[in-house]
Amino acid sequence: MKKLNNLAVIAGIAALFVIGFPLLFDGTLKEYEVSVVVTDDQTGIGVSADKNLNFGRIAVGSTVKKEVVVSNDDGFRAKAILRAEGNVSTSMVFISNVMINANQETRIPIEIRASVPGKFTGKLVVEIKKSKFGLTEPLVSLS
């Protein structure tokens, strides 16, 4: 009976931890429009140097790369979780989980690999997670 009680307490603590774990972290979302036109023309490219994720016009077989800069001005580590949406997502290559140390910035390359002609659009969603409490900061990578 005592063993069962102990198990119940442990299960209760585990359940509380699972339910309460997300409450230990702050999160914010940023979304970026992504677009690219892929053509069969091997001799020309279209470029946009604007600070957006318009990858312009490229030929089949080519790759194009821009970088997203995530800066963390806070004293605690942060975690960036990236995901792509829309039909452009099948052509996008990037690291989806990146840790950013306190008071540092990191550049995350976003690459488009053009395989078939067409116009491709979508979004890059960047979710930033950071611990609300200094004591739980080491757990941010698990969030």
Binding site: G56, D74, A80, F133, L135
Partner: protein, 221 residues
């Protein structure tokens, strides 16, 4: 326990979500290319159209050591277009490599930089074609009057082309990063018919950073 609670509260007060996300302005295109047939000087070109709202500067390079380029540093205005060239002379056969064309937002470029032309001297076998700087990284184009190999070296270790063997008559020396202070540079042709040495130096003017590049002929000095 009380100490832990106090620490947790203080930690909470100190914490804030100060994270920013920006898109960096540099863009890189990699274009697989297999059209170079050996035996003659071959040219590759790509037309670049600026689809954005800001001007950009173009750069072009290849993962092949002896490729020379034209159009480096070309400023392309919004709605404008430019043609970039890369050319080389290769052994017989088909050669495959990637060409990378990169762009940066010219409005965020540092500079302007300049080089001091009066300090460059030419010799018997090697000519300096031109020298420009991009973001403080110097590019020096050279030409060998004889059809030989040109070897470039530096004691500063800051030149990517260090020890490069340029099979074509023209070649480009790239700086890996902005030069600070003085760095010696020498350019030697394989025949030993010519040799240069000089200094690369950076400085700050009241308004802009500037690069002063000088080559002084060592032979005879």
């Amino acid at each position: 326990m009380i100490v832990l609670i106090v620490l947790a509260v203080l930690s909470t007060l100190a914490s804030g979500l100060i994270v920013d996300v920006n898109v960096y302005e540099d863009i890189k295109y990699t274009i697989p290319y297999a059209g170079f047939e050996g035996g003659n000087v071959q040219k590759y070109f790509t037309d670049v159209e600026n689809l954005g709202s800001v001007a950009c500067k173009a750069n072009i390079r290849a993962d092949f050591p002896s490729l020379s380029m034209e159009g480096i540093g070309t400023l392309i205005k919004p709605g404008g277009a430019a043609r970039l060239f890369a050319y080389t002379r290769l052994d017989n056969g088909t050669h495959e490599f990637n060409i990378t064309v990169s762009f940066c937002n010219s409005t965020t470029s540092k500079g302007p930089y300049f080089v001091d032309a009066t300090k460059i001297t030419t010799g018997n076998a090697i000519d300096i074609i031109d020298y420009i700087s991009d973001h403080g990284k110097l590019r020096l184009r050279i030409r060998s009057r004889e059809d030989d190999i040109v070897i470039i070296s530096t004691d500063g270790g800051k030149i990517r082309s260090m020890g490069a063997k340029l099979n074509a008559r023209t070649g480009t020396i790239y700086m890996d990063r902005p030069v600070t202070g003085k760095s010696a540079l020498s350019i030697v042709s394989a025949s030993g018919s010519d040799e240069f040495s000089g200094e690369i130096e950076t400085g700050e003017s009241p308004l802009y950073k500037k690069i002063i590049f000088s080559i002084r002929e060592m032979l005879g000095i």
